[in-house]
Amino acid sequence: MKHLVTSILTLFLALVALPIVVVTNAQAEPLRIIIDDGVIEPLPFAVPDFVAENAEASEYAAKIARVVAADLSGTGLFREISKDAFISTVTSFDSPVQYADWKAINAQALIVGAVNVSGNKVTVKFRLFDVFSGAPLGEGLQFGGTTTSWRRMAHKVADAAYSRITGEGAYFDSRVVFVSETGPKNDRKKRLAIMDYDGAGVQYLTDSQSLVLAPRFSPTGDRVLYTSYETGFPKIYVLDVASVGRQALADQPGTMTFAPRFSPNGQTVVYSLSSGGNTDIYRMEIGGGAPVRLTSEPSIETAPSFSPDGKQIVFESDRSGNQQLYIMPANGGAAQRISFGSGRYGTPVWSPRGDLVAFTKQNKGRFHIGVMRLDGSEERLLTASFLDEGPSWSPNGRVIMFMRESAGAGGAVSLYSVDISGRNLRPVPAEGGASDPSWSPLLK
């Protein structure tokens, strides 16, 4: 009996002893560090000439690759590695990628493409590779079109690569409508023109018989609102881009209208109307109908711009004594001032992302293009010069295009673009003088 008890006791103790050893198994805590500082540098990429799959394609293969490379380099976020440095070449669209060769020249992204032309039909294929992980980034894509739209296909390739790598929306396949200027400052001839965002393919929409100002694209990119003096007085018109037909809007006798903009649904036009020396903001439906007055102050209210959701309008007013920015509901109503820095603020434009407003600021004799949050905080000035004005946002809200005029009798006016971070300020090549840019949405 006692043996039994002892045995059981022993067994029990033995069993109890086991867990003690096993119990505490907590691992050492992982080392935790915080990285809150990094580098800002362009990502190196390589675009070998696209493979021409037949003889007719050879003319386009190299050109398309160049446009893709220029699009990416032009953002300031990418740096092209010159083909002189390439170790391996791409001779066929489907051949395996020698990642080691691309890694050796520090390319982090590789774009391989091929072009096929038959008659006037062009087919462009491409694949994007993340050299670093040795794998493709996303699927390959193929585009088809005509020989005259080869540039658009190149832009679409670049858009796909850009979006996949940065996570941002695309913007290369877009156009800009602007005012082309010629002649001396005191006798400027202006006419409306349209071009690809990178300056290619300039086409004129009006002649220079009458003064035209500030064209603005519709949300679908098919129409343009602008101000024209063809009747001798400034009035707003809407022009159809495809047919170049135009139509006057809001023609009230004895008044002058200018600074028109579309609402995000393309149905409403908001504009400034000057009567009896006072300028206020009005809206009207594009199809016709009575204008609705949105502001009634004795001060100047102008340069209205809709928010992307169409519910609010940002505009400039000098009701406080000098030009400042205000936001009001899209149907009029109490306006909140959002600009509070020193100087004068004008030409506000709401970002397509909805969170920022770009503007022109004048302070101490200098002009700046800047951005601020909707409540006026985080104001950042991106440029500074003798005369910068008229910002317009890219479709993805990352880049701002504006015009810059130099001083003096020989002052030349041209278009520039800058990244929202303030980096990558660069001119936009356009023939001759150019002003008042308006960026279209991404083309479909």
Partner: protein, 363 residues
């Protein structure tokens, strides 16, 4: 009454009591020490146990609405399709007023052919990852655009031009400028959020379950009917086992010296910072990601161990980009391996790095 067995029982009981209780007391302070030894499991095994296959690349595709997703890479199986993008786009020209008549909108056609995956073969894509090997050494590259680096002290190496070559230079710890970094502690709440679906899983490097010690010696079944001697043998055997385990491990586990000093942690932080490219104007600059990684004794990233633990802010696309940039930073800057003291290996074998670009946005 039988005093013999009684005294024996008491004596044994006392002995056992001492063994049990006394052992507890003496062990307490060394708990942690013992723990690491007890869980005799190598780093690789552990990694295999607790980390499911992450595949960073896949994440990348998840987001981005515009793109035809589905990548899933490897297999050729053409998913081809990807119709959406394909067509339409290029086509027409519309514009042209004046000059030519509007172009015909061609509807593109084709079929999507191809595309889709990669030229295949080469690598079995799946790797997911970090090609831990041979990280390209760039960095030194010259660049036309100004480069913004974390600390002024860490100047880019002078050999700009040479760029392309795999040139390595100065090890990161040159500076350890004290940036007053918060240091761990704050890491915390990054906590998971949204984020990329698959892969992420929680796994922090802490084990989700205690590892079972391998090869536990079999415990002799206490024979009830045996005589005392056998029971005492059993007891002795039990004790012996316990002690054997105590002594067992040391040789196979990581050295655990004192925790890393601030300077050592900062050196690692600076090393990774130098390769962490931030797109300050982009949506990914609003995303904070926490990345977990395991290093081998040489300071190199263990293949397959790098994964996204959590993120805050941004949508799926932005998080994927932020994670990819963080991953690149860790892998690119390891070079021959991060310089960390080997004697403290167990303290830096598992690392959680939080990449927070908030300060960068104001630059």
């Amino acid at each position: 009454m039988d005093s013999g067995p009684l005294i024996s029982g008491i004596g044994h009981g006392a002995l056992l009591a001492w063994a049990l209780i006394g052992g507890l007391f003496s062990r307490a302070p060394e708990d942690t020490f013992e723990v690491s030894e007890v869980s005799i499991i190598s780093a690789e095994e552990f990694a295999a146990l607790s980390t499911p296959q992450p595949s960073p690349d896949v994440e990348v595709n998840i987001p981005t609405p515009p793109q035809p997703e589905i990548e899933d890479t490897p297999p050729e199986t053409p998913v081809v399709e990807t119709p959406p993008e394909v067509q339409q786009p290029p086509v027409e020209e519309t514009p042209p007023p004046a000059e030519e008549a509007p172009e015909v909108v061609e509807t593109p056609p084709p079929a999507t052919e191809v595309e889709d995956t990669p030229p295949e073969t080469p690598l079995p894509p799946a790797q997911d990852n970090p090609v831990v090997l041979a990280p390209p050494a760039e960095i030194a590259t010259p660049r036309p655009a100004p480069r913004v680096a974390p600390t002024p002290v860490v100047a880019p190496p002078p050999d700009t031009e040479v760029a392309e070559d795999v040139v390595e230079e100065a090890s990161p710890d040159a500076d350890t400028q004290a940036q007053n970094e918060p240091d761990e502690a704050t890491a915390p709440e990054e906590a998971t959020d949204v984020i990329v679906t698959e892969a992420d899983e929680p796994p922090s490097s802490a084990p989700t379950s205690s590892a079972r010690p391998s090869a536990r010696p079999k415990r002799p079944t206490p024979p009830v009917e045996t005589a005392d001697s056998s029971t005492s043998d059993a007891i002795n055997a039990a004790l012996a086992d316990v002690q054997a385990e105590d002594n067992a491990a040391p040789a196979t586990t990581a050295p655990t010296g004192p925790p890393l000093s601030f300077g050592e942690k900062d050196a690692l932080r600076v090393a990774v910072s130098n390769c962490w490219a931030v797109d300050v104007g982009g949506t990914s600059s609003r995303v904070t990601v926490v990345v977990g990684v395991s290093l081998d004794r040489e300071g190199k990233v263990i293949k397959g161990s790098l994964q996204l633990i959590g993120s805050e802010g941004g949508d799926d696309a932005a998080v994927a980009v932020a994670f990819r940039n963080a991953r690149s930073a860790i892998i690119r800057c390891q070079k021959g391996g991060y310089k960390l003291p080997i004697e403290k290996y167990s303290h830096w074998r598992e690392i959680e790095m939080t990449f927070n670009p908030e300060k960068m946005r104001i630059k």
